[in-house]
């Protein structure tokens, strides 16, 4: 396999975006990424689009050809990638693999979702379809419900309490203040988070990521080619993917996700790096407890220690490991298919000094962790500075 780099990124505003389709959002993000990369339109060999369900949200199947169609790139391969909330991360990974293999020289990986057409209870139903339909969904599971049970199990075993979970929400909202593309630029307090509406006991409204429209895109090229380009760039150090049982109840332990442990370990091995080499990380905080569990599963903290570390400020800017500087899913928003791609966009901006007010100092390695279902799919990436 050849080495691969990313040479341009694009991202729409995340939020409730009104009269626009996921196809238009993906097109906007892809155009921005191609412009930053300064590549010729005809150089694009293929497109991957991470998206959960244009079928349910927009009554559109076979969505992938729609993007090259709007970009004026008809006849190139365009592929839809679906892995629940990890669709975006997996679309980037498929793009990287296809360039690494030597098959393509320039690939645009996009992620998009238009969720706000439907009322909340319908969105909850649609998202629940990412769980096991027969043995979870038809019994009444929701994703807040599944992660509520993870939170309870974690609290019983390690004492991770409501205040620690709220600290994740407060921290990510604080980070999101400096991200103009985030859905929310609003600080919250621990008290407000803990006393908000109960969604699935013990998770409250502020433990949950919002329903969001948006898109993000990256341009992937061989590293040999990237090195010769003048613009911003980063190198793909490694990537890894793992899967586990569809049903949460089939796992021996629900205080962590084996998939994150496996994917992170493989990513570190492939890059020949240690967890202590990583300067900042974007993890999949679809729920506050998911961020804590991810940090423990990757190995930034021992099992059971991420909650108290978050409360102590170890995961903020300037802390031991800055986590979700973009605002995370919690504040930036969670347009399902776009989420994994937007994590990569944030790493790119940080490694190239393009993150504005939220720019971290002296960062060399950034990592992403994108989760699908109740952790049934995990995609991890590690990137390094290109200069």
């Amino acid at each position: 396999m050849r080495e691969v780099g990313i040479v341009g990124v694009g991202m729409t505003k995340f939020g409730v975006l009104g009269r626009v389709t996921s196809r238009e959002l993906a097109t906007t993000a892809a155009r921005e990424a191609m412009e930053m990369a300064n590549i010729k339109r005809e150089d694009v060999d293929a497109i991957y689009n991470g998206i959960l369900s244009p079928d349910i949200f927009e009554h559109q199947m076979h969505s992938a050809p729609g993007i090259p169609d709007y970009l004026g790139l008809n006849n190139i391969p365009s592929t839809r990638v679906e892995a629940a909330c990890a669709s975006g991360g997996l679309a980037v990974m498929q793009g990287i693999i296809s360039v690494a293999s030597g098959l393509y020289d320039t690939v645009v990986a996009t992620g998009s979702e238009k969720m706000t057409n439907l009322p909340t209870s319908h969105v909850t139903e649609a998202l629940a379809m990412c769980a096991d339909d027969v043995y979870e969904v038809s019994l009444g599971i929701t994703f807040p419900g599944a992660f509520a049970m993870v939170a309870r199990a974690h609290e019983r075993k390690y004492g991770t309490n409501a205040e620690m979970r709220a600290a994740v929400a407060v921290k990510n909202h604080k980070h999101g203040l400096h991200n103009p593309l985030a859905q929310f630029q609003k600080e919250i307090t621990i008290e407000k988070a803990m006393n908000s509406l109960m969604i699935a006991d013990p998770l409250t409204l502020y433990d949950c990521s919002p329903i969001t429209d948006g898109a993000a895109a990256v341009v992937i090229v061989p590293w040999e080619k990237a090195k010769k380009m003048d613009g911003p760039k980063m190198k793909v150090s490694s990537f890894a993917q793992a899967s586990d049982t569809m049903s949460l109840h089939d796992r021996p332990d629900i205080t962590g996700f084996k998939t994150t442990q496996v994917a992170a370990r493989k990513a570190f091995e492939r890059a020949n790096l240690k967890v202590t080499d990583i300067d900042f990380v974007e993890v999949h905080d679809c729920f506050t407890i998911a961020e804590l569990v991810a940090l423990e599963d990757i190995g930034f903290f021992e099992k059971g220690k991420a909650g108290s570390a978050t409360l102590a400020g170890d995961t903020t800017r300037g802390g031991y490991i800055p986590v979700n500087i973009s605002g995370g899913l919690k504040s930036k928003g969670h347009p399902i298919g776009a989420t994994g791609v937007s994590q990569v966009v944030e790493v790119f901006k940080q490694l190239n000094g393009m993150a504005g007010q939220r720019q971290l100092k002296d960062v060399n390695y950034g990592m992403t962790q994108n989760l699908g279902g109740s952790g049934s799919t995990i995609v991890c990436h590690i990137f390094e500075r290109g200069d």
Binding site: V137, I141, A200, L248
Partner: protein
């Protein structure tokens, strides 16, 4: 409910044994249980020693939550308890937890029994879908 397939007789019919009778399988070689029914024993990697097995309706409560914000289709009965149960044979299932009169008395590992109840309906003209729910045994 936005998903058409939920309303079909076929979807319910093909799941009849698992959903209505808790039928899975048992491996005579490794003495392991599987639910739902697997095509091969996941430990022995063969179908040779598998036989049908009907699970007992008793187990223990491993985890639970109260869902206040249900998915479309489950919003007819207000907030409900949802749980993970380990059956006597050692396999786990998730389902709703009914007849919780005193939440404070729910305990990790407490005994529960399974009862046959309606899972959801499809309006006045549609099917009723039935299956098992758990009830705490205080």
């Amino acid at each position: 409910m936005i998903i058409m397939t939920r309303k079909l007789v076929a979807e319910n019919w093909r799941l009849e044994k698992a959903r209505y009778a808790l039928v899975g399988n048992f491996c005579k070689k490794c003495l392991g249980y599987h639910f739902p029914k697997k095509q091969l024993c996941l430990r022995c990697k063969t179908s040779e020693h598998l036989e049908e097995y009907k699970f007992k309706h008793e187990g223990k409560l491993l985890e639970w939550t109260k869902i206040y914000d249900p998915a479309k289709g489950f919003d007819f009965a207000g907030p409900y308890y949802y749980c993970i149960v380990e059956l006597e044979e050692g396999i786990k299932i998730t389902t709703q937890l009914k007849y919780v009169t005193d939440e404070g008395r729910l305990k990790y590992g407490m005994k529960v029994k399974l009862v046959f109840r309606r899972l959801f309906s499809h309006g006045n003209e549609g099917l009723n879908t039935y299956g098992f729910k758990a009830v705490p045994v205080y």
